[in-house]
């Protein structure tokens, strides 16, 4: 339904606009400012143009982090999206079990990020953690603090545990929107379960999946708290992802210039990849 055109709406948007300007746009401009200059303090500023950008883009530490980050996000998507869909398909749709299921699925999403990190940190410890201890007892050597691949697996498991529910809930709502007639027609056409999934459920979940993929990509690409709390980025550099590298640069080393430049590059990478996902998933609609 089209809205009647008048300008009253702008007045209602103004407070939000001001808030966003204050908390996001102005700080962002500050970052841009810092990325183009070498600033010691208010009186010592030198315009350096693209120097910071060049430095940052050639930094091998950054390349490593970037690669790790891509692999990480890739793994997250590859695991969480199919798993979320699978869970959504098996969730009950009617009755009190469905309400219970929905509540249980929501719980991991409500836990603060560093609490999640802490839970798993203790859970996975080889000496006092339930999981760590049990795994070592049955003969699987597991130590996320010392072993790089164990650390990776643990960080991935944390994310899956934390966020798959989101994908599942989104897909669940997408599935609920499919009218019953489609299933009935498929039964009469003798379609197998897989055919029903491929030709009815998956296409109809497209818009919901788009949201899920974009959200999970962006969040996982920016991940900071959980790996930091779990391993501090170790062992060595194995679980140091982009955001941690950036923070170290900015707050640890006070290299504000390069950090600012890198923030912008980071931002642009996320934008670009999101755009690629979006176009790829919606190009079919344009026909």
């Amino acid at each position: 339904m089209r809205k009647v055109q008048n300008n009253k709406a702008w007045w209602l948007v103004l407070p939000v606009f001001l808030l966003v300007a204050f908390s996001a746009i102005i700080p962002m401009m500050t970052v841009v400012n810092y990325s183009l200059q070498d600033i010691f303090d208010q009186s010592n500023r030198y315009f350096v143009g693209t120097d910071w950008f060049r430095q940052v883009l050639q930094d091998p530490r950054l390349h490593d982090s970037l690669l790790r980050q891509f692999i990480y996000s890739g793994c997250v998507l590859l695991i969480e999206i199919p798993l979320g869909i699978a869970i959504a398909l098996t969730m009950p749709t009617k009755g009190r079990w469905s309400s219970l299921c929905l509540i249980v699925m929501t719980i991991p999403l409500l836990i603060p990020f560093n609490v999640v990190g802490t839970i798993w940190q203790i859970f996975g410890r080889a000496d006092i953690g339930l999981m760590g201890y049990a795994l070592n007892k049955v003969g699987i050597s597991y130590n996320y603090a010392a072993n790089a691949s164990d650390a990776w697996v643990t960080v991935l498991v944390i994310d899956v545990w934390h966020w798959t529910s989101l994908v599942a809930l989104l897909c669940y709502s997408g599935l609920r929107a499919i009218p019953d007639v489609y299933y009935q027609a498929a039964r009469i056409d003798r379609a197998s379960g897989w055919a029903v999934f491929r030709h009815i459920q998956l296409p109809k979940m497209k818009s919901v999946l788009l949201i899920a993929v974009m959200l999970r990509f962006m969040d996982s690409f920016m991940i900071y708290t959980e790996p930091f709390v779990l391993t501090g980025g170790g062992p060595g550099n194995s679980t140091t992802f982009l955001s941690q590298t950036l923070t170290t640069m900015a707050l640890g080393q006070f290299d504000l210039g390069p950090a600012a430049a890198f923030s912008l590059v980071y931002f642009l990478i996320i934008l670009l990849v999101s755009w690629v996902f979006y176009t790829a998933m919606t190009h079919g609609e344009k026909n």
Binding site: M1, R2, V4, Q5, N6
Partner: protein
């Protein structure tokens, strides 16, 4: 209160939805907008209501220009195809909602709601929730809500389409009675010509955003100005045959010839399209100058009291609307008769040259 549209147009994304529409409605009238889906009926109604603004042209209510007035300030009600009611309010509350919005007193609300509910025969459901009611009752609730406001303009967008066939008949009759004594202008959109005929009043035929014809329903029906109007306002569709008049003779598709009769004599020579209504064709000759055609039966659609016979020969296909049951097998060879005094004559551009005169005096 009167409603006038002057040269109203609206285009969306480069596509014309309404093209230069000019209409005028009298107070206390019942007006039908007839057209196929996507012909512009809903767009036109939304413009009348004020939900959309036209790109050009003016809309006047009671002589006052309301083109820029928001729908909130126009005295309008609308009833939709999907029975739209507030699910969490009782029927009473639903009907009362416009009055509460207007700030009426409790007594006024109480009496008006009961009065309107009684008119629509839903008084005993006032304390129930809409979802507990049947489709017809829900639609009546929506209509009551539209009527209680006593708006000057009520718009109905195919409101009966989701209801039973029989329920539709009943509600149509009730609607006609409801509007008889009021000053509101009622505008009713439908895709079915039979509904337009049953509801009476005036009919405006729309096609692809343009007004094809507008006027009193019997006039538009019996005197369609163009071939398009004749086609759109007829179910089953009017039969059309290309032909020509040459001196004293009429021929259809160079194959059927018959001498000019009194009525057609006035037309003059030339190429024309001749139309005849399915209900005027018959299986037995009833007049001396009836035209006989040998055809084969394509299909006989039999309803209890009437038959729709689809026939063809190698030049054209025809549909007959016959009273009674006539069961013919496919490919049966029969003869049909066309009364020549009931022919419509349209010129090659589709304009009406002549409509058949009526043999009986009409009842006022």
């Amino acid at each position: 209160m009167s409603l006038t549209l002057e040269h109203v147009s609206r285009a969306v994304d480069g596509q014309t939805w309404i093209d230069d529409a000019s209409l005028s409605f009298e107070p206390g009238s019942f007006n039908v907008l007839l057209g196929r889906t996507l012909s512009g009926k809903t767009s036109l109604m939304r413009l009348m209501a004020g939900l959309d603004k036209p790109d050009s042209g003016r809309i006047l209510m009671n002589g006052k220009d309301v083109t820029q007035t928001a729908v909130r300030h126009r005295n309008v009600s609308m009833v939709y195809q999907q029975f739209i009611n507030y699910p969490s309010m009782t029927v009473f509350e639903n009907i009362a909602s416009p009055l509460r919005q207007a700030g009426e007193s409790r007594e006024v609300i109480h009496s008006r709601v009961h009065e309107t509910a009684k008119m629509l025969r839903i008084e005993r459901f006032l304390q129930r929730y809409p979802l507990e009611l049947s489709g017809g009752q829900q639609q009546r609730t929506a209509m009551a809500r539209a009527l209680v406001k006593d708006a000057e303009l009520i718009l109905f967008d195919e409101p009966l389409v989701n209801l039973d066939y029989k329920l539709r008949e009943e509600l149509r009759q009730e609607m006609r009675e409801l509007f008889e004594a009021r000053h509101t202008i009622a505008i009713y959109a439908t895709t079915e010509p039979n509904e337009a005929l049953a509801l009476g009043g005036t009919t405006t035929i729309l096609h692809e955003g343009r007004i094809v014809q507008s006027g009193k329903t019997p006039e538009v029906y019996h005197q369609p100005k163009t071939v398009l109007a004749a086609e759109l306002f007829s179910e089953p569709p009017i039969n059309l045959m290309p032909g020509r008049i040459d001196g004293n003779e009429v021929s259809f598709a160079n194959f059927v010839h018959f001498p000019l009769n009194v009525d057609l004599r006035k037309v003059g020579d030339g190429q024309f399209r001749f139309g005849v209504r399915p209900s005027h064709l018959s299986l037995v000759p009833s007049n001396d100058d009836d035209l006989e055609l040998a055809v084969t039966v394509e299909l006989a659609e039999i309803s209890g009291s009437e038959t729709f016979l689809h026939v063809r020969n190698e030049h054209f296909s025809l549909v007959l609307h016959l009273p009674g049951v006539h069961a013919y097998d496919v490919d049966a060879a029969i003869r049909v008769y066309i009364p020549t005094h009931k022919l419509f004559v349209f010129d090659e551009q589709g304009r009406l040259i002549q409509a058949p005169g009526l043999r009986m005096a009409r009842v006022a």
